[in-house]
Subunit: 371 residues, 2 copies
Amino acid sequence: MSVSKLQVSRRQRATPYTPRVEALGVSGYSVVNHTILPKGFRRTVEQDYWHLKSHVQLWDVGCQRQVELQGPDAGLLAQLLTPRDLRNAQVGQCLYAPMIDETGGMLNDPVILKLAPDHFWFSIADADMLLWARAFALGRGLDVQVDEPDVWPLAVQGPKSDDLLARVFGDKVRNIGFFKFESCDFQGHDLVVARSGFSKQGGFEIYVDEFSLGTYVWDALWDAGSDLDISPGCPNLIERIEGGLLSYGNEMTRDNNPFECGLEKYCHLGDELDYIGRPALERIAELGHACEIRGLVFSGEPCQAPQFPWPVSIDNDQVGYVTSATWSPRLEQNVSLAMIERDFWQPGTEVVVKAGNDLDYRGVVTSLPME
Amino acid sequence: MSVSKLQVSRRQRATPYTPRVEALGVSGYSVVNHTILPKGFRRTVEQDYWHLKSHVQLWDVGCQRQVELQGPDAGLLAQLLTPRDLRNAQVGQCLYAPMIDETGGMLNDPVILKLAPDHFWFSIADADMLLWARAFALGRGLDVQVDEPDVWPLAVQGPKSDDLLARVFGDKVRNIGFFKFESCDFQGHDLVVARSGFSKQGGFEIYVDEFSLGTYVWDALWDAGSDLDISPGCPNLIERIEGGLLSYGNEMTRDNNPFECGLEKYCHLGDELDYIGRPALERIAELGHACEIRGLVFSGEPCQAPQFPWPVSIDNDQVGYVTSATWSPRLEQNVSLAMIERDFWQPGTEVVVKAGNDLDYRGVVTSLPME
């Protein structure tokens, strides 16, 4: 399928950073949570990959909308919404957490920020989890407010992120632990700053909690980074595949359970803990899951990206499917994420990838992240 | 904001008709319900408007996903999900129906198809109402299956629609009433065919209930229309504004109640009838709503479409905002939809529209649909 133009309307929301990314020559957008997400700038994905691994980038990830739970039953609802055990979660902690339905199907994989014992943000991937959380609370009669606050995450990613952020927020940011957040002053305004982000190159996400503040934060970071080769950027397909970072809607849908997505460690099945989908997960754990996400590399010409999934087979029997793929200039082969059946998911297994248009590639299953 | 490129992935789903619209030179897509919606072909929006009013078009509206309710409590849940009184709804009827949350805020405005007393499709606008419906049923403990079936609507719109459909489905389609549906045979396969669609030019929506059947239905209609000047098409901005057809996310969001959207007649406040948001609607009905959707025409140069909303004012006091606007070649002025405050919503009221970039237009409030 050809890459085609996106029409922007009020329904596909701009972010506070849209004027800046437009001025910097954004080449395209995706739509996430009814909000536009830049997909590239003036460089190729390969150039952008090398830059991300060496320098620092500003990413407009305002599309990572927050579902805010607040009130007496906020803690109870937060726990009901995820199989991850939140009982020992601390204020100031970010928790990557699967959300599932009553059949065990994946609905989302947000990062949960515990702001206070009765106050949470779920920083979500592409699905209206506000509707899920609010309707469940309403049906169950819980005493909790569920809303979308005026919060627009801005990501700073890459090895020079600490140096850049220290210039704007002070040296205290250097001491923020991985998947922890702190409140940091920006021109008299307290902002949540977390060491997190959708790359493996290190960095932060700044939860700008007022639309009109967005360009000021962007500009302060941009100006402070002028001697650090700062660049606008966005989640990089090559880097995220190599790093094994899953994208909801691509690697997983409601048809997948969290075990298939490699998220077993975030599913509490020990002592009694009530959450949506627990009985279903127990059955799946007992029976074993049929497939699991893996890396998969394959040589030959750089693959194009028509519509996924692509079938993965051995001796003409399908044993899985590729969900995302691209060419890696570092590994000098194609890299992909694939859902592979149990008997064949062992790293080293040789397979055939059919990349549309009768193009067959010889590939090998790998662990994640890729080396 | 410039129109920019859309990146397609597994997360932004193709429809059964995507290969056909690609072959016919689709110029861009929007994203609705995680699914791509064509936004134009080889003609301008104006040319497309005249064609739609004279001939017949095939629209890929596979993005109108269905939320299917099935089971003993399906009727109960359907009613809880809308303020519209469904007690006299008949099998074979399509019902345009607001969906609201517990504050009265608009969540969606689907067309509900009553397939059987315990079986409904909600043909939805852009929001994950599957999550809303399923979570509410789960929280409330209802005995109902809520799912997204393998159904991909294909719209046939324009004055020659009856002639075209009769060639493929037989003359029985001519007798299908407005907002009624019947089961029609297509090569041995029963398909739901409804007299409905997102234009005021007449036509049908065919609920193709098997992905792999899609291209066959498309091709049969396309071939049958070769002497009818058939064309690919999509919802036409000029036509829908003139016709007063609202788009969820553009004209209305969770911040609007159904009275503001002109949907009072679909809100039952008479005898006891339980649905989500009823107490909130009663309060709003008692206090009166502050603004309501109207048409608004304004002269001058054809307006461009930067980001909405645009402020509407009288004597420099804001009295509303424009949510969608474009140039009408028929009325030879700009036409728009606007949310206008009570004191100023009387048709004929003169206002000023500020269309970004310090461009002021003199405008007049109108009723809907526009003459």
